[in-house]
Symmetry: D3
Subunit: 136 residues, 6 copies
């Protein structure tokens, strides 16, 4: 059953790698998500890090900018994922997507998922930009 | 009421521009969608061309590759949009996204929208690739 | 446990009323749905009739035309409900909504749920119209 | 590139018309949405006005009451669009749909999209009604 | 029209039975939902009780534990149903599903609906657990 | 980069374990999904096996019956996942959920996700049952 022991050497190594990727891309916002899971579902935190970021996000087949554009599209389309959208709009900026490009991507979204979801995502973008400006 | 007359000079011009963008990006698959609307909803066909492609898609603020990545993410997340996904996976190839990158983007999608939607989108990609191979 | 006995006198009466409403609105297409459930889930068929049509659809607080407009909006937004959309576009015509109004409602939908779902619903409308023309 | 210049005479005219429609239907709540976009995405604000309201909402093929019924159905089905639902429940009242009809439409929604989304929309309606009562 | 008179003897009896089921499973949180509907949509409150709990939830064909597992899956997948998820995570605990099983079910959800929805549901679970601990 | 080399010893071992779990639960239908990915996205096939089944499904914290009930709820709610629903209704039967319980779970779903999605899932169940009867 060691496969499910998230503190086995193999899983610690997978998680460590994932956390490095997560930290590189999402910065403190990403780490905060993992930490916030420590008391309720450490296994979910482990798989966010080890699988989502370590196994998938860091794969060489698609550059980080492209991954974030796909991700922005998905989170906008899903709806009800404002906390994740906030983290990933931040991540988009971190990997070199400009604020104007984020805003343009969310305008583009209106065509495919309708104006309500595009509006909600744009208001999240405004919040992220304002927090960054305040943090300077 | 000329604003709603899709055959007014202004609307014909807007649609003509949109059809050029659509044709450049989606090729025959895109034109076929517009044509298929001629009998049932020419106004919907007009707005797909004039608004979606002419007003939005062709805006300079985001390059075509980036727009298609966002679009792939949205269509995969929505589910039940296999016909549109087929057109837009073709469009992704047309704007220079490689087959491997499409496949990788859909693997990436599994993290955010779950494996069922990622699987369905990947099977659409296989269909598009096979049709292109058969057309050579 | 008689409440769950769909063949109790009370439930037969509730179902009979619901089937009358269903038949009046959806015509044969609606009855076919209930019949198609007879072998697999007669309880689901009972509740479609007794609850959905008998208890809710026939309530006096909203006219049938208005109910169908709300329903078209919901089924278009949900996605993946083409069979139900087909039945309810037929129902819309049955309660006096014109073909042009159906098509216009689905163009209107593009604003709120995006063009892909609006397109899919419009193609279902074309199918319904064609079947009606063929049946004349 | 004048097509994308939202301050070109043509686009100013399209937007002006759309804002009049928006103002007539949604009142101050609608204008507030456009204004709230001025700093972050004026192009999105432009297209909400020019396309959604000017090009689509005001088309003669469907009366405002019918458009709002379709819209209530869509926003209830989408989920996670409470801010938009709030604006459009207000718009429904503005175009002559009664409070009882709004509440009835949302009960009707339970059949098609389930009770959770119907409940959430009903609580938004209560909020809108309360604000109108307080504003008297 | 007595079928729609929610105060007819038959409907009062159906509702009374439903409220007993609701109270047994959801406890005070469920009753609070019905009460909160009294002013805005008593008919919706009636059908939540009479149909959802009385007609469906209490059917003998599936044990309460199984019903809550299906329900957790649905509410997690829908997104935007945090208030309902809160009630039903409480209900899950009430019918004998352990906290660890709830958390595990929501980790399992990540595979099928993606990590963002799994994360949002897990944070609702933490809130429910904390309120129960505080209430002791 | 060995982490992304799905043919590294560690990944082969993880996948082998996952395939055993998949085979035990989904039988041939599950294996067929993985095989069908071999030409288009072997990495997606790897992660379905290694992550979804090996890492998550086989975890001891929730029994297989419970996992399948949560899964049925999610796939019914998502919509547009009929192929996956087909595999997982088969899996539900394989882990000891009776046909009547599957049908009851899908009736229960009508309350939370509406009748259209419940109907679509029930028709998938009928197809699965018919194929099993034909295979005897």
């Amino acid at each position: 059953m060691s496969q499910f022991d998230i503190d086995s050497p193999e899983n610690v190594a997978r998680r460590k790698h994932g956390l490095e990727v997560l930290s590189r891309i999402d910065g403190e916002a990403g780490e905060a998500v993992i930490e916030s899971l420590a008391d309720i579902s450490p296994a979910l935190g482990h798989h966010v890090a080890a699988f989502s970021f370590g196994d998938i996000y860091d794969r060489p087949g698609l550059d980080p900018r492209s991954r974030q554009l796909v991700t922005l599209g998905m989170l906008t389309a899903l709806g009800g994922c404002e906390p994740q959208l906030k983290v990933h709009i931040g991540a988009a900026l971190n990997v070199g997507i400009s604020r104007d490009e984020v805003v343009e991507a969310l305008l583009h979204a209106a065509v495919y998922v309708g104006f309500p979801r595009a509006l909600n995502a744009t208001f999240v973008a405004r919040e992220v930009f304002a927090e960054r400006d305040a943090a300077v």
